[in-house]
Structure formats: structure tokens, C-alpha cells
């Protein structure tokens, strides 16, 4: 093994010699620089491998003297990992900067190398004063190198940075000197050992000075003003270098020195300052219009989070790996984003429209980093955050968890706001990496790759290897993302094969697991849905190359949810599903905007679910099955948070505003899946997670029943409100979108009943909705594909051109409306019986009203598209492509089967419901007649009656009277006038205007107004708050002085 001292010695020597090497040519100097960094990487990497295999940390002495006489350094696993990161970032930045720096900056090369060296020194040293020296190396290196970039901004930012850095290093140095005086040593370990015995009056003040020095280097609130300017004003590649080297090293210094700070007061101070930074910076970031300034706030916030966690790690409450994962995640993502920001060059967020649309790899990298920054799986930050929260939960730090979650939500707001712009196609020629050479973007691609690889590795530990369906599909999707050359239909075929393969595997192995538990139930739905979508994809080519890859990842993530037995596995799948569906939604024409809203609410839902899970974790519950053991207030809190989270995700009334846009604007091929399958996953959550808590407590805790009643009303309000809104839509996808949300509201309501019959109704309804709504969206996709329009005013009379699609829609709306004899009626019947059985009378009547209202939009849908006058422009429209019709047929068959025999579904549900409640939901009076406490229904007889009547009457029609002659389209009874053009005869716009007038008081956009209000308040706070950063160097220095005073006022200066 190479002596670790060379990690510092070699780059120093090279730095000194570099001016001479440069005489051989700049290329040689660059090569030597890179070689040196490679050497660092190699040495540290080799040690890291050793450490991971259990080697002990090495202690390195200098000057021939053991500590505390001499200065010593240490290389352990953490140090080695950080050095690796520093070297990697150094390499990435060197390659990047080679394309961005102006001519002839040998000095720049030297400074880059010394920055890396300084960081390595900071990481390894165990001497306090030596820390100061390396702090200054890093500091001066930073002051020098920031001059890359637009000069005036860089100078301004740099000067402020020096000013605050000067104050900070003074505080630090004074602290070190006085600590020497107090303890008689400069060695950190020795000092840690001696300080408790040597405490004198004023020691607190000394420690405070030292800490303020570090905190201001760490850019914690309120000392981060200059640092944020730095991000804004300086060449981003340089900032990437600083993030990967200095920032990490400084945090590690903080970590090392924090050992000097014992006692609850300091722990509270670290946690408070860290959390304040996390919250404040995340809030202020949402008002930023400039990309790099936003990233600066984000960096501060992330460091704040890490600092916040330090006292908990020290007390053993939080695992060290949490911090490690978060730090690694931050380095990857932030450095990567900065490099990308530099390559792109857009300073304002607005300028990012269509970013990197010419480079798939860079787009993937950008998305990866944004997802990683916001703590989504499978990236390392997700696992880190989870571990941290679990640690906090298990030691009763509920309020801190709440703060972390709130801060995280703001992260979603600004990061996805940015990604939204990047995903929005540019009107003009997009800026981007046109011809950017590989070496420039090497760092971003490397870090994206590492983030993915590291994340995937952890994910596979949680979910299992490549043979598990979830991982298999995810991996297949990931591979498919990169295949650009294939036609989209072929990709659909590949997807079809993958899904079929998994389905085959699952059902062939079904004997091993009881298929008809709740998981199996949803699994069938998911796989069937995915299969149908793939079939449809053979007919309609996806518009974006990444569609099928993302789709497979999405399916994989849902299967991951279903297969997981641990809370962690469930939540990982949940968040994977969130972002993969978000990216799919964003592929639509106006998708990015709608997707953004979707993402925000999905993120909020995710955080609520996470909160609920943390409540469970606080009671020591880590698996879904163990949720049963919760009781009392904990159970209620977990129940509430989870239920609200799931309710947000199904777009319950109040949180529904994301849904119409997301459903309407997502690609036509994806909407059926989004509406049919994804909206059911929260229902699975309710069934599998919430019910585990609630079902046992039904008997015991009255409180949970009343909570269930609230949930029931939420579902009912959703069903009513969304139906009402659907009635007035002028856009066919929007109409179905509102309808979907409303329909899921029924399911939530039935779920909330918490009775066997209620659950039977809910699950039956869920499947039925999946079938008919999937069918409707598929058929509409065909119409849009053929006609290219989406508004009702632009269609009409298409029954003549697309009769099969018409039949599909007809079957769909009959099933939706619940009109006998199709399968929908059984759902309505079960629902009302269950509601009456429970005694929720008003909800029963309310739902009857809502159901009838659904007729309005059902008729609107089919009439405005298919009936009435065929427009001239549509005379040559063809029937939908056959694969799409086949996909529709795949949905129609089960609908018809269920119409004749609902038992096909209800019998398995009986088992399932019995498994949960101990009793089945319905009884069978005969093979065909279902009964409940309230009523009875025989679907087969019903169908027979209808069929017989139909045939008899058809016979009459065919035989009695004259043979009807078919007349031309405009040949109508028209008051003896010549009818005008078809367009003018079509009554399609504002179809229910009188109805709208009648309901005007209910239709005020109160919910939207409410959310606008929320946004206004948050933005107002952020806007006011960010004026704290006045931009004046003196103010920033003053803040550092005031910061000391404030902390002293809290009694830390003792």
C-alpha cells in the first residue's frame, strides 16, 4: 500500500513543479495535473477498499514525532472516501475547465490542484492548528480560483467571500490559540481528551469563537450570504470543484471538531442552526430566478441538514451512514448540476427551456441529479434521509422530523420548477450541449452514473436481485432508455415481451404465494394494465424516445411497492413511482407544467406517507405486517398521516387541483395507465397499510372510526365535486380526468367504510374503474391520434368513421354510469348497500346524486365526439389503429364477463376480505344472486332480461313496418330551411350552460384560490426573507459578529 502521506506530499510537489512542467507545454502540464489527481484517486481508492474489508484506520505521524508532540494525520474509511470524492471532482472539473478557462492559466491549474490538496489535508489532519493552515489553503485557493467566470460578478462575490472568510478565520484562530492555552496541546485527540478536565471560565466563549469560524466556512445561515453570491457569480465548474473538495472537507472538519463540544446545549445549538439553515435556505430558494443562485441556497440547505444530523449521530441516535449517504449524494448531484449548468450556460431558469434536447445522456444526467437532490430513490440521498429519519423517529424526535419533511417539500418546489423548464420544449433553438465534447461533460456523466449505480445497489439490497420482477423491469427500462435507434413501436413490443415475461413468471410461481391476497389483486391489475398499454403502443407510437424506458421503470416500481414487506421497500417503490410517472406526464405537449403540479402534490403526499411511516418507526415498527401492533395515539397519528398522504395522491377534494392537468396533458398513451392503474396504488396503500392499522382498532378505538368517517366524506366530496367539474369541461381528456378523480373518490369512500362489504365494493369498483376508464382513455387516444384535436367543439359525428371506437366508448360510459346491465351497476349496487349497511345515509343519497351527475358528462363525451354532425374536415378519418382496438378489446372482454358474472371478481374478493375482516362481504343466495343485509341482485338474470328484450324488439323493428331508408347527413327536419354546414349544426360548446348557471355558487374556484393563497404566502415569505441577504460585504461581516452575540445570549459563552 502507498503511504497515505503521499496523498498530500505528491500533489504539493507537483504543484510546486508545475510552473516548470509548463515550460514543456500546457498540454503536458494538464496531463501531469490529471495524472496527479488520478494518483490520488488510486491511492485513496486502494485504501478505501482495504478499509471496506475491515482494515483499521492508519495513523500517520510527521516530523518523526508521535502525537501530541508532532502533527499527525489519519486515514480511515470516511477519510478515504472523501479523498476519492475530492479527486474525482478534481478530475471532472479539470476536464470541464479545460473547455472554459481562458487562454494561458497555468496559475489556474496550480490553484485547482492545491484546492484538492487543501481539502485532502483538511480531511486527514488531526491537529487543530494544522486544520487552520489547511483551512487557509482552501480559503485562499477558493479566493483565487473564483475569479474564473464573469469578472465583475466573480470579483464582487469573491471579495465578500474574502471579507467574511477573513473574519471567520480570525475567530477560528483565536479559538485555536485559546484552546492551546487552556489545554496545552494542539492535537485534536489530545485536546478532546484534556478539555473536559481543563475547563475554565470562558471556555465556552473560546469554543463559540471556534465554532462560529467553522460555521461561517460551512455557509450556515446567517453566514451564507457571500457563499450564495459565489455560486451565482462564479464559473460553475469551479463551484463544482469547491463543492466536491472544500465543502465536503469543511463539513468533515466540523464533524471532527464537534467532538470538543459536549453537552446538550451545544447539541441543541448544532441541531437548531443546522435546521434553521435547512428551512430558511430552502424557502428562500423558491423565489430565485437564477439557476446557480438557487443551487447556492440549496447547497447551504443541504449542509445545514448534515450539520443538523451531527449531534444525533454523535449521540448514536442516527446511523453514521445516513450522513455519509447524504454527503455523497450531495456531492454527486450538486457538482453534476453545476457542471451541467456551466455546459448549458443558461443563467436564468427561464432560459433552460428544452435544455439538452440534443443529448439524451445529459438529459438523463440532469434528471438524475434533480431526483437525487430532492432525495428520491434509488439515489443515495433517499437512503440517507430514510436512515436519518428512522434514527430520529426511534428516539422520539418527532418535531425535528416534521421540520425535515417541510424543508424537503420546498426542495421539490424549486428543483422541479427548474426541471419543468428544462423539460418544456423550447420555442426557439434550445441552448445546450451542441457538440459539447465528452471530456467537458465527463464529470456530470460520471457522477450521474455513480449515483445511479450506488442507488441501484442499495435498491437491490432492499428489493432483491435482478430476478425479482421489480428490479428486472426497472433494469430493462433503464436499458431501454438508452436505445434511441429503434422505432417506438418496436420498443412497445419489447415492453410487451418484458411485461408478459414477468407476468408469466409471477403467475407460474403463483402457487408459491397466495395470489389472491391484496397484493396479488393489485399485481394482476398492474400487469394487465401494462400489457394493454404495450399493446396499444404497437398502434400509436410514443412521441418521446424515453417513453417505454420510463414506463418499464414505472411498472417495476409499482411491482416493487406490491412486493415489499418493509416500510422502506414500500416507500422506495412509492417514490420511484412518483418520479417515473412524473417524467411520463411531462412528456405530453403541455406536460411539464401539469407534471410540475403533479409532482408537488405527489411529493407532499410522499412526505405525508413518510411522516406516517416515521410515526410507526417511532414505535419500532419496520414492516407492513407489524403495523397491526400499533395502538393508541401512535396508531391514530400514523393512520392519519398515511391516510391523508394517500388521499392527496388520489387527488381527494381539496388536493385535487393537480389531477386534471396531469391526466389531460400526459401523453395519450400513458393517461389510461395513469388513470387506470396508478390512481389505484394509493388505494392499495389504504388497503394494505392503513387498514393494517385501522382494522384491529375498529373494534377498540372509536376515534379511528370517526377519522374514517372524515375520510369517507372526503371521498364523497371528491366524487361529487369532481363529477360536477367534469360536466363543464370542453376538453375530452380533461373531462375524463375529472371523472377519474371523482371515481376514485367512490373507492376511497368505500374503503373508509372499513366493513367487509365496503371493501368488497371498493375493490370491485377499483377494478371496474380500471377497466372502463382505461378503455375510455384508450379510445379517446385513438380519436386524438386520428383527428389531432382534443376539444369537443372540434369533433362530432365520428361514429360514421370510427364505429368500433364508438362502441368501446359506449361500453365504457355505460359501465361508468353504472347503468344495468353492464358491470358498473354491480359496483354502484355494492357501494350503496355497503353505505346503507354502515348507516351513512346522507352519503348514500349524496353518492346517488353524484352518480347521476356522471350521466351528464358521459353523454357529453360520447355525443360531442361521436354523435351529431360529422365535420367536413373529418370525412376521411380512419378507424383507430388495430393494436389500439385490440387493447380496447382486452378491456372490453373483462367488462362483459363481469357484467354477466360479477362473481368472477367478487368470489376472489370474498377470500381477500375474509382474510382482513374474518367475514366475507356479500353472500350468495344462489349461484347467481348476491345478497347483502339490504338487498339482492342477480346479474345474469338481468343480462338475460335485457338481451331477450333487445332481441324481441329488434325482431319487431326488422319485421314490422316499411324498410327504413337511410338519409343523408344534412337531411333533417329543419323548419323548411336548408340546414347550414355541419359545423354550425353541432351543439357541442358550453353544453350544460344552464346547469352551470344553476350551480354557479358551487363552482367558484375556491380550492384553487386557496392553493394560490398558500403559494402567495410562501412566496411572500421567501421574497421578504431573501432581502436578508443585502449583498453588502460589511453587512455580512456584521452578521457574523451578531451571530456570535446571539449565541452568546443563549448562554453558550460560558
Amino acid at each position: 500500500m502507498v503511504n497515505p502521506i503521499l496523498l498530500i506530499g505528491v500533489p504539493l510537489a507537483v504543484a510546486f513543479l508545475l510552473p516548470l512542467v509548463d515550460m514543456l507545454g500546457r498540454r503536458t502540464a494538464r496531463a501531469v495535473h490529471l495524472l496527479t489527481l488520478a494518483f490520488e484517486l488510486f491511492v485513496a481508492g486502494e485504501w478505501l477498499v482495504q478499509f471496506l474489508h475491515g482494515a483499521a484506520a492508519v495513523n500517520i505521524i510527521t516530523g518523526g514525532w508521535a502525537p501530541p508532540i508532532g502533527i499527525n494525520l489519519r486515514l480511515g474509511p470516511l477519510e478515504a472516501a472523501l479523498v476519492c470524492l475530492a479527486a474525482l471532482t478534481g478530475i471532472g472539473s479539470a476536464l470541464y475547465l479545460a473547455h472554459h478557462e481562458e487562454v494561458g492559466s497555468l496559475r489556474g491549474l496550480v490553484i485547482q490542484l492545491l484546492l484538492v490538496t487543501g481539502a485532502i489535508g483538511l480531511i486527514m489532519t488531526r491537529d487543530v492548528f494544522n486544520t487552520f493552515v489547511f483551512l487557509e489553503i482552501s480559503g485562499i485557493g477558493t479566493y483565487s480560483i473564483v475569479i474564473f467566470g464573469k469578472e465583475r460578478s466573480a470579483l464582487e462575490a469573491g471579495f465578500k467571500y474574502i471579507a467574511l472568510g477573513g473574519a471567520a478565520s480570525t475567530f477560528f484562530l483565536l479559538g485555536v490559540a485559546f484552546l492551546y492555552k487552556i489545554t496545552g496541546t494542539l492535537n485534536l485527540d489530545d485536546m478532546i481528551h484534556k478539555l473536559p478536565m481543563a475547563v475554565v471560565a470562558g471556555t465556552g466563549t473560546v469554543l463559540l469563537l471556534l465554532m462560529v469560524g467553522i460555521m461561517s466556512e460551512l455557509k450556515l445561515f446567517p453566514l451564507n450570504g457571500p457563499a450564495i453570491d459565489l455560486y451565482d457569480g462564479v464559473e460553475p465548474g469551479v463551484m463544482a470543484l469547491i463543492v466536491g473538495t472544500t465543502v465536503n472537507a469543511l463539513f468533515f472538519v466540523f464533524w471532527k471538531i464537534s467532538a470538543l463540544y459536549t453537552g446538550p446545549a451545544w447539541a441543541a445549538m448544532f441541531a437548531s442552526v443546522g435546521m434553521t439553515t435547512f428551512l430558511v435556505c430552502n424557502v428562500l430558494a423558491i423565489r430565485q430566478t437564477r439557476v446557480r443562485r438557487m443551487l447556492g441556497y440549496s447547497s447551504s440547505a443541504q449542509i445545514g441538514l448534515l450539520v443538523f444530523l451531527v449531534p444525533f449521530v454523535k449521540s448514536g441516535e442516527v446511523a453514521l451512514s445516513a450522513i455519509a449517504l447524504l454527503l455523497v449524494n450531495h456531492t454527486f448531484a450538486k457538482a453534476g448540476l453545476l457542471w451541467l449548468a456551466g455546459t448549458h450556460g443558461g443563467e436564468k431558469i427561464k432560459e433552460w427551456k428544452g435544455a439538452f434536447s440534443d443529448s439524451l445522456a445529459l438529459r438523463i444526467a440532469l434528471a438524475t441529479f434533480v431526483l437525487a437532490m430532492t432525495g428520491l430513490p434509488p439515489f443515495p440521498g433517499f437512503w440517507g434521509k430514510w436512515q436519518a429519519l428512522v434514527g430520529l423517529a426511534q428516539h422520539g424526535h418527532g418535531w425535528w422530523i416534521g421540520a425535515v419533511l417541510v424543508g424537503s417539500l420546498f426542495e421539490f418546489v424549486y428543483y422541479f420548477g427548474w426541471l419543468k423548464e428544462a423539460l418544456t420544449p423550447a420555442e426557439t433553438v434550445p441552448r445546450g450541449a451542441v457538440g459539447s465534447p465528452l471530456s467537458e461533460v465527463f464529470g456530470s456523466l460520471l457522477y450521474a452514473g455513480l449515483a445511479i449505480a450506488l442507488g441501484a445497489k442499495v435498491l437491490m439490497q432492499v428489493w432483491g436481485g435482478f430476478k425479482t420482477p421489480a428490479i428486472f423491469l426497472g433494469a430493462a427500462g433503464f436499458v431501454l432508455l438508452f436505445i434511441r435507434a429503434l422505432p417506438e413501436r418496436f420498443k412497445a413490443a419489447l415492453t410487451l415481451v418484458a411485461v408478459a415475461w414477468v407476468a408469466w413468471g409471477v403467475f407460474a410461481g403463483a402457487r408459491a404465494c397466495p395470489l389472491w391476497d391484496i397484493r396479488g389483486f393489485f399485481l394482476v391489475m398492474v400487469l394487465f394494465g401494462a400489457f394493454v398499454i404495450s399493446v396499444a403502443g404497437l398502434g400509436i407510437p410514443a412521441e418521446r424516445g424515453s417513453f417505454w424506458g420510463l414506463f418499464l421503470i414505472l411498472v417495476g416500481s409499482i411491482i416493487g411497492i406490491l412486493y415489499s414487506s418493509s416500510l422502506l421497500g414500500f416507500f422506495a417503490g412509492w417514490e420511484l413511482m412518483t418520479w417515473s410517472s412524473y417524467l411520463l406526464v411531462s412528456q405530453g405537449r403541455h406536460g411539464p407544467k401539469a407534471g410540475y403540479l403533479y409532482m408537488l402534490f405527489a411529493a407532499a403526499a410522499g412526505l405525508l406517507v413518510l411522516g406516517g411511516m416515521m410515526v410507526a418507526e417511532s414505535a419500532g415498527v419496520t414492516t407492513l405486517a407489524a403495523l397491526v401492533s400499533l395502538s393508541g395515539g401512535v396508531a391514530l397519528a400514523a393512520w392519519g398521516l398515511l391516510a391523508v398522504g394517500f388521499a392527496v395522491k388520489v387527488a381527494s377534494w381539496g388536493a385535487h387541483i393537480w389531477a386534471p392537468g396531469a391526466y389531460a396533458e400526459s401523453p395519450d398513451l400513458f393517461t389510461p395507465f395513469l388513470s387506470g392503474v396508478i390512481s389505484k396504488i394509493p388505494i392499495f396503500g389504504l388497503a394494505a397499510v392503513v387498514a393494517r392499522i385501522a382494522a384491529p382498532s375498529v373494534a377498540t378505538a372509536i376515534s379511528s372510526i370517526s377519522v374514517a368517517h372524515i375520510l369517507g366524506w372526503v371521498g364523497g366530496l371528491t366524487a361529487f365535486g369532481m363529477t360536477l367539474l367534469a360536466v363543464f369541461q370542453e376538453d375530452m381528456k380533461k373531462l375524463l380526468a375529472y371523472s377519474s378523480v371523482g371515481q376514485v373518490g367512490y373507492v376511497v369512500l368505500a374503503m373508509a367504510l372499513l366493513t367487509p362489504l365496503g371493501w368488497t365494493a371498493a375493490l370491485y369498483y377499483a377494478v371496474n374503474h380500471f377497466l372502463f376508464k382505461g378503455l375510455l382513455f384508450l379510445a379517446i387516444a385513438g380519436v386524438i391520434y386520428r383527428t389531432g384535436v382534443r376539444t369537443f367543439a372540434d369533433t362530432g359525428g365520428l361514429i360514421k368513421r370510427m364505429p368500433l371506437s364508438f362502441i368501446a366508448v359506449l361500453i365504457g360510459i355505460i359501465a361508468l354510469a353504472g347503468v344495468p346491465p353492464l358491470s358498473g351497476f354491480a359496483g354502484k349496487w355494492l357501494l350503496y348497500e355497503a353505505l346503507m349497511d354502515k348507516g351513512w345515509l346522507f352519503l348514500t343519497a349524496f353518492m346517488m346524486l353524484a352518480s347521476v351527475m356522471a350521466f351528464l358528462y358521459c353523454f357529453r363525451l360520447i355525443h360531442s365526439i361521436f354523435l351529431g354532425q360529422l365535420k367536413d374536415k373529418d370525412r376521411n378519418v380512419r378507424e383507430a389503429p388495430w393494436p389500439l382496438l385490440l387493447a380496447e378489446l382486452l378491456m372490453v372482454i373483462p367488462i362483459l364477463a363481469l357484467s354477466v358474472r360479477p362473481q368472477l371478481l367478487i368470489e376472489p374478493l370474498q377470500h381477500l376480505v375474509t382474510g382482513v375482516f374474518g367475514v366475507p362481504g356479500v353472500r350468495f343466495a344462489s349461484a347467481a344472486t348476491m345478497t347483502t343485509h339490504f338487498g339482492y341482485f342477480n346479474a345474469a338474470a338481468m343480462m338475460a332480461l335485457v338481451v331477450v328484450l333487445f332481441l324481441v324488439l329488434l325482431f319487431i323493428l326488422l319485421t314490422v313496418g316499411p324498410k327504413p331508408t337511410k338519409v343523408k347527413q344534412l337531411d333533417i327536419v329543419y323548419a323548411a330551411e336548408v340546414p347550414p354546414s355541419p359545423e354550425e349544426l353541432q351543439y357541442a360548446w358550453a353544453f350544460y350552460r344552464p346547469y352551470e348557471r344553476a350551480f354557479a355558487p358551487l363552482l367558484k374556484a375556491r380550492v384553487t384560490a386557496f392553493w394560490h393563497g398558500v403559494v402567495d404566502v410562501v412566496e411572500g415569505v421567501a421574497e421578504a426573507g431573501r432581502r436578508f441577504y443585502t449583498g453588502n460585504a460589511q453587512t455580512y461581516v456584521l452578521y457574523s459578529v451578531l451571530f456570535i452575540l446571539v449565541l452568546a445570549a443563549f448562554g453558550l459563552a460560558r
Partner: protein, 233 residues
């Protein structure tokens, strides 16, 4: 307003820091210091204990310190690498007397500086001090004649090689005595108060002196020419 707050804050923090004064009162040496004072001569053979600490016990700090200087010179050069665009007043040439005097004084100053760093292990002073003295000679030259071109090539070589030499000396310690920058066991410590004594300490201090002298000279050069020349680099 802000100025009033500033003054109040400073006065207040003055009171907070006043608590530190009692800590600063003389107290006994700690074990580490005691070792430096009691065994410094034995360990390193140099009579200047500060030098023993600077070059040997805490030699690693000094390497960092040299790096800081190197870095700040590089940084200053980097910051000032562009043409400033300022109107440069045509410098009034110094009088003949000043110019001649400066040239005359330059050599003794350099010799004095060398003396200081060569004797760093014996008497007060050392590489930094000596280097600074040498640089002051250069400053004198530059003040006397702004247009005087310094031998950049030479300075660059000295700067690089002396820094490299420092690291090499450290590596020598690593190879011979098993520890980076070790002194004992690398070279004989020699006799007390001799010029050639204290092992590698004088060598390192000479290297430091050269490095500091050349670097500060470069820095002065950069600063002096900041206002007009292209590409100081």
C-alpha cells in the same frame, strides 16, 4: 444606522471577549510545550526552539504555510492576470541617486536576508524572515525603477525547485526515518551552535528562504505591474 449597530455590536462583543483575558494569564507549560523546551535541543540539535517547532515538530504546518504563500502569489497573479484597463500614469522616473542607491543596497540586503535564513536554527529569524528581507531588496529595486524587469525565469526555477526541495526533504525523512519531514536520523544533528548542525532543519530553512524570497518578489512584481501589463502570468 448600520454603522451604529456595528459599533454597538463591536462594543458588546468586546465585553464578551473580555472574559478571555483571564485565560491568557501565565500558567505552566503543558506536557507538549514542556517537551519542546526541555528536549528540543536534544531532538533537533538547533538552539532556536521556535525553529525546531516550526521546521520539525510542526514542520507539516510550515509546509502548508509555504503552500499558502505560493497559493496566494499564484492567486494574486491569477486575479491580476488581465489588463486592468485603467489609465496608467506614466511613472516619473526616480532620480539617478535613488536608482544607483537602490542598486547598491540590493546586494547587501540579499546577503543579509541569506544570513538570516541560513542561521535560522541558531538565532532568531529563519526562512520566512530572510525571504522577506530579500523581497524588500527587490521592492527597493522596483520602487526605484518601475520598469525594471525581474528575471522571471530564474525566479520561477528557484520558486519551484525550492518548494519541490522542501517536499523532497520531507520524503527523505519518510524514506530514511519512516516519517514525513523527520529530522532525527536523516542527517547527523551536529554540534550545538554550529552553522552545520540541526540535521535537515537548515536545509529546509534555506529552501524556505529561497522560496519565500522569490515568491514575494514575484508578488511585488505582479502588484507593481497590475495596472498596465498584459498577462502577468
Amino acid at each position: 444606522m448600520k454603522q451604529i449597530i456595528s459599533i454597538i455590536a463591536i462594543v458588546t462583543i468586546g465585553f464578551v471577549l473580555w472574559q478571555l483575558v483571564p485565560i491568557a494569564m501565565p500558567s505552566g507549560f503543558g506536557a507538549v510545550t514542556h517537551h519542546y523546551v526541555a528536549d528540543g535541543l536534544k531532538d533537533n540539535g538547533g538552539s532556536n526552539l521556535v525553529t525546531s517547532i516550526v521546521v520539525n515538530y510542526r514542520g507539516f504546518d510550515t509546509l502548508g504555510e509555504v503552500t499558502v504563500l505560493f497559493l496566494s502569489v499564484s492567486g494574486a497573479a491569477f486575479v491580476l492576470r488581465r489588463r486592468s484597463g485603467l489609465e496608467v500614469q506614466e511613472p516619473v522616473p526616480a532620480s539617478e541617486i535613488v536608482q544607483t542607491g537602490a542598486r547598491m543596497l540590493f546586494a547587501p540586503i540579499v546577503v543579509f536576508g541569506a544570513y538570516i535564513f541560513v542561521h535560522g536554527h541558531l538565532t532568531p529569524g529563519g526562512g520566512f524572515q530572510g525571504g522577506a528581507v530579500i523581497a524588500s531588496g527587490v521592492l527597493l529595486l522596483l520602487l526605484a525603477n518601475r520598469d525594471r524587469a525581474l528575471p522571471h525565469g530564474l525566479l520561477s526555477w528557484v520558486e519551484s525547485l525550492s518548494g519541490f526541495g522542501f517536499v523532497l526533504a520531507g520524503l527523505a525523512g519518510l524514506i530514511v526515518a519512516g516519517s514525513f519531514l523527520a529530522n532525527k536520523g536523516v542527517l547527523p544533528l551536529g554540534q550545538w551552535n554550529r552553522l552545520v548542525s540541526a540535521g535537515v532543519i537548515p536545509i529546509i530553512y534555506i529552501l524556505i528562504g529561497l522560496k519565500v524570497g522569490s515568491e514575494l518578489s514575484v508578488l511585488l512584481d505582479v502588484m507593481v505591474h497590475a495596472a498596465g501589463d498584459e498577462e502577468a502570468n
